[in-house]
């Protein structure tokens, strides 16, 4: 247990020591989105009846930050350790692949949740945020960050160079999170894009998270939970398999 806890603590320190970059910066980015889109679209778009656009946007942005930062934490930490070679410090000790996985995953989730909470707190300056079902909010926050944390571990292990990881982030993570209904309800999309959105697992994370705030969503929160939970189980299975095989870590 001490080995696992130490690795988690080290990963926590790694982002916390540079929290201006890892926490404050993404909170600021989310606020800029809120300001710009909120200003441009306020009064023109009403997604849920009686809900102000900024109030609608805030939870989606918070969740997007949770997801992007969970991914970024695990992937960039592993990537940097591999590049600089200091990954040996965690490969030499008697840590099992499960301990390794859990430590990186929990640290990634921690950063995601901290950033998400920061975004929500900051948005309180601009709008009232009401929470209808706080447990759903928490559940989707935790599950969503777990999926993206696991995905971050896979990306970090797989990438040999910074540009490979950047491609993963720019061509997979960013489009999936942007096209997940953060800025709009998918009900407003043409039929084809509505159907396409349902193939995006990130859509269910955002939708379920938002359900916790408004008690209204595009899809049933139970379906969303099943899909997010299923994604997490599948990804964990894949990641643990990779770690156990020593893929790219132990030649």
């Amino acid at each position: 247990m001490t080995g696992f806890y130490t690795l988690f603590y080290k990963e926590w320190l790694r982002f916390w020591k540079v929290s201006v970059q890892t926490v404050l910066a993404p909170v600021l980015t989310a606020l800029l989105y809120l300001l710009v889109f909120g200003h441009a679209l306020r009064g023109r778009v009403e997604v849920f009846p009686g809900v102000d656009y900024i109030a609608f946007l805030a939870p989606g942005l918070a969740m997007m930050s949770v997801l992007q930062n969970s991914f970024a934490n695990a992937s960039s930490s592993l990537m940097q350790s591999k590049m600089t070679g200091n990954i040996v410090f965690v490969l030499l000790p008697p840590l099992s692949h499960r301990e390794f996985f859990l430590a990186y995953l929990l640290a990634a989730m921690a950063r995601g949740v901290v950033v998400g909470a920061g975004v929500l707190l900051a948005t309180l300056w601009f709008t009232e945020v009401s929470v209808v079902h706080p447990w759903w909010v928490l559940l989707f926050g935790v599950c969503g960050s777990a999926v993206m944390g696991a995905l971050g571990i896979v990306a970090g292990i797989h990438s040999d160079k910074i540009d490979q990881l950047a491609a993963f982030t720019n061509f997979i993570i960013l489009p999936l999170t942007f096209l997940s209904g953060v800025f709009y309800s998918i009900q407003s999309l043409p039929a084809f894009w509505q159907a396409a959105s349902h193939l995006n697992p990130v859509f269910y994370m955002i939708d379920g998270f938002r359900y916790g705030f408004f008690g209204a969503s595009d899809t049933s929160p139970w379906l969303s939970l099943a899909i997010v939970g299923g994604s997490f189980i599948a990804l964990s299975w894949l990641t643990l398999g990779l770690l156990k095989s020593g893929y790219k870590l132990r030649q």
Binding site: T2, G3, Y5, T6, L7, Y9, K10, L13, R14, K17, V18, S81, T84, G85, N86, V88, F89, V90, L91, L92, P93, P94, L95, S96, G246, R250, Q251
Partner: protein, 299 residues
């Protein structure tokens, strides 16, 4: 008896390169063992297999009787590795790095030993400095300290003195010798053969992934009992001595390689007969470096 290190018929191939072609090797507890060989001989691959960083294609490796694959937890507990590359984690100070490394090995409160290691490696006044701000030599010391946090019975040092100044080298060897006296098994790779000669009780020489020599340092020095005679002559070298020439320098100095000491007499006789005056003469013992070069050439 349980060997400190037991390697049986280990092979490893990277694409078309056979990095290790069936290496078997046992190191007894308490030994100071040298792993020598030119670059690319497979030393680091062998060490990486012991450390679990590389998986062998076939064969087994054990540390204190624990298989590095099957029983990896016990094997890694028993092993401390100082890697060749100067790696460090830029997020932490020296003391933080050591405390974290202890934690990975399951040690919660290791302060007393960490302080002792810091003291012994002359890191005391840098203990709270960020790793980024340390010089290369200091980073090397921290790497040694990190390998020792869990007091492993077997310590492997992969070229620990490459690019290190004299002072650190001496301090390092004092400390490593002390650990060896206290019962730790030490395995060392180095390109400085005088270091290996002075420290190692036994050495293995590797070439292209195979062990070409495995013997005590004493035996190696004794078995290669020949000597070198350095000469500066008043005339030309007699033709009879030509086959013995090992080296000819621009300034006229000649070095002869003799299979044993008795041959010195024959050289002197040949010179006397030819009437060539000896201006300077020096007889030299071969050191481990000479023996290494000879063995590598033959292998």
């Amino acid at each position: 008896m349980t060997y400190a290190i037991e390697i049986s018929d280990v092979t490893k191939r990277y694409g078309s390169l056979q990095a290790l072609g069936g290496v078997s090797l046992c190191v007894e507890p308490g030994e100071f063992f040298g792993l020598l060989g030119p670059n690319g001989a497979g030393k680091t691959t062998l060490i990486s297999i012991l450390a679990g960083l590389v998986r062998p294609d076939s064969g087994t490796a054990r540390i204190m009787g624990h298989d590095v694959g099957v029983d990896y937890r016990a094997a890694r507990h028993a092993l401390g590795v100082v890697p060749q590359e100067l790696v460090f984690d830029p997020f932490f100070t020296v003391r933080e790095a050591l405390t974290i490394q202890s934690g990975y090995f399951g040690l919660r409160d290791n302060r007393a030993w960490i302080d002792e290691v810091i003291e012994n490696l002359d890191l005391a006044d840098k203990a709270d400095t960020n790793m980024r701000a340390l010089s290369g030599g200091m980073k090397r010391r921290v790497l040694v300290a990190q390998a020792l946090v869990h007091k492993p019975p077997v310590i492997v040092l992969d070229e620990p003195t490459a690019g290190v100044d004299v002072e650190l080298r001496q301090a390092l060897w004092r400390f490593i010798r002390r650990l060896n006296r206290d019962g730790h098994t030490i395995v060392l790779t180095t390109h400085y053969l005088e270091e290996a000669e002075a420290l190692c009780g036994r050495v293995a020489m590797l070439k292209q992934g195979r062990i070409v020599t495995l013997d005590t340092t004493e035996n190696l020095l004794r078995l290669h009992s020949g000597c070198y005679v350095g000469l500066r002559l008043g005339g030309a070298l007699p033709a009879a001595l030509e086959p013995l020439v090992a080296q000819r320098q621009d300034d006229g100095a000649i070095r002869l390689a003799l299979p044993d000491y008795a041959e010195v007499e024959r050289v002197m006789a040949a010179l006397r007969e030819a009437g060539v005056a000896v201006l300077e003469m020096e007889i030299m013992q071969p050191d481990l470096e000479e023996i290494f070069v000879q063995i590598m050439r033959k292998a």
